[in-house]
Amino acid sequence: MFNEAVIKEIDEIRVKYPDRKSALLPALYIAQREFGWLSNEAMSCVSETLNLPEAFVRGTASFYSMFRHKEVGRHLIQLCTNVSCMILGAERLIDFLNTKYGIQKNGTSEDGRFSLVEMECIGACGTAPAMLVDTDFYEDLTEENIVGILEQYK
């Protein structure tokens, strides 16, 4: 079960909506923050806190690509490869990350430092190619500058 502080945080979100079901997406984000990913335990906690059927919680959680259903590395690289990023070299960056850090697309490096997720447009098309590392935006990426950026994430 969530600790009291988390339950209080979810209760505060609940009052913003006319029903408790509507607090599900925010509650899933909180569970993901607390557990690192949406394990069975994490989803059970959400189900219990909001008094919603587990099947409903899982149904919603599985629909959205930013909810994670397996463990991820310490840092999450979300690199866009949609058209604007692709035509400016995003795919080369995916290959580069594989060679340099041994991270497969949608996989995790052996040392558990980085996970890499291929994204569908993160709204940084004018400064492509672009990525999010955890919640930080990085734009105008090249094979040269991406190494320096990732060095900040241990």
């Binding site: 006319p18 930013m66 949609n82 058209v83 035509i87 993160i122 098309c125 492509a128």
Partner: protein, 418 residues
Amino acid sequence: MEKFLLRNIDNPNSSDIKEYIKAGGYKNLSRAVGMGQDDVMEEINKSGLRGRGGAGFPTAMKWKFAKADPKFPKYLICNADEGEPGTFKDRPILEKNPHLLIEGMVISGYVLGAEFGYIYLRGEYPAARDILDAAIAQAYKDNFLGDNILGKGIKFHLSVHQGAGAYICGEETALIESIEGKKGQPRTKPPFPVNVGAWDMPTIVNNVETLSNLPLLIEIGGEAYAKIGSEECPGPKLFCVSGHVENPGVYELPMGISLKDIIYEHCGGIKDNAKLKAVIPGGISTPVLPADSIDCAMDFVAMPKAGSMLGSGAVIVMDESVCMVKVTYRALRFFEHESCGKCVPCREGTDWLRKILERIEHGKGRKGDIELLSDVAGVMYGRTFCPLGDGAAGVVLAMIKHFRNEFEEHINTKKCKY
């Protein structure tokens, strides 16, 4: 043209309420309240404002339907689920000018009699989340949000609801399902959200840019607003330009400006003096235009006549180095990933189209594949539950229409030469 939507954003503290007020912010809210609900509605009607999310629906009409519904409470939702690939026009408003949006939403809530608002923000904008939360807190503190706005008894409460990476939630009924905690799958229409929306109540869903136009409209009046840009689609428009141009970025220009002028006058032309091959004018879901067809007016009425759509004003510029088969394949990977699975033509069609495009791009195309692509896309078109499937089919059909030779070359030579 003088900037309005992007006014003041070069100020490093532009998201702070003090700076916004210093630049004249929240005056238009007082002005709107002074005018009264009916007069503001009349100004919006006169202005000819159309929704900036992609469909271009007249805002006044949508609002009249919602106002006419006797049920309360009514809800106002700002669609900030900017997910159409190529689109990054709302991001500067969300991150640099959040009070413009908040002011626009309070004005809208006042006119519509809606006391609760939500900003449905895409999960991919974590920085905007923090900025909006901080701006909302400031607006509450200064009495621009709450139970007694401006001391006039006006009630409007606002919060951010964060999406979680589903493109389909940009469709308004899917967005409403998502706010209600469900999978983001579109609803049957009718009933429309203006009558039966969030929690079954009348709900108005408008794009960030649409709502951010409200303060300007109040400031200059509907008639003056209607004189900006093109006659049938007035007002300023944000265009976000990416790909092979010298100066990509977000540009605030009058609606109806020529696509050619956006690229050559405002964005400095094609990068490194390369030769232009094609432009996707309104985000990945809009039909591609070849280089010789870009002298067209960028608005909701003129673009369909030119063979495409204005969409979100997301201009993707491609030079001669780009393989159009690969672009089509990448687009279809996107649509397959984002199809919500509710209706068969979209769920199966996007998967099938992607498979055919994948083999053509990888040198394994078969004779008859182009006809098969046209056939599958033709069957999908107009038969899917929501516009996602139409978009996917339209992209394939336009690419084959304009760049058939590239598809043929891939199949005949069994490789991609790019």
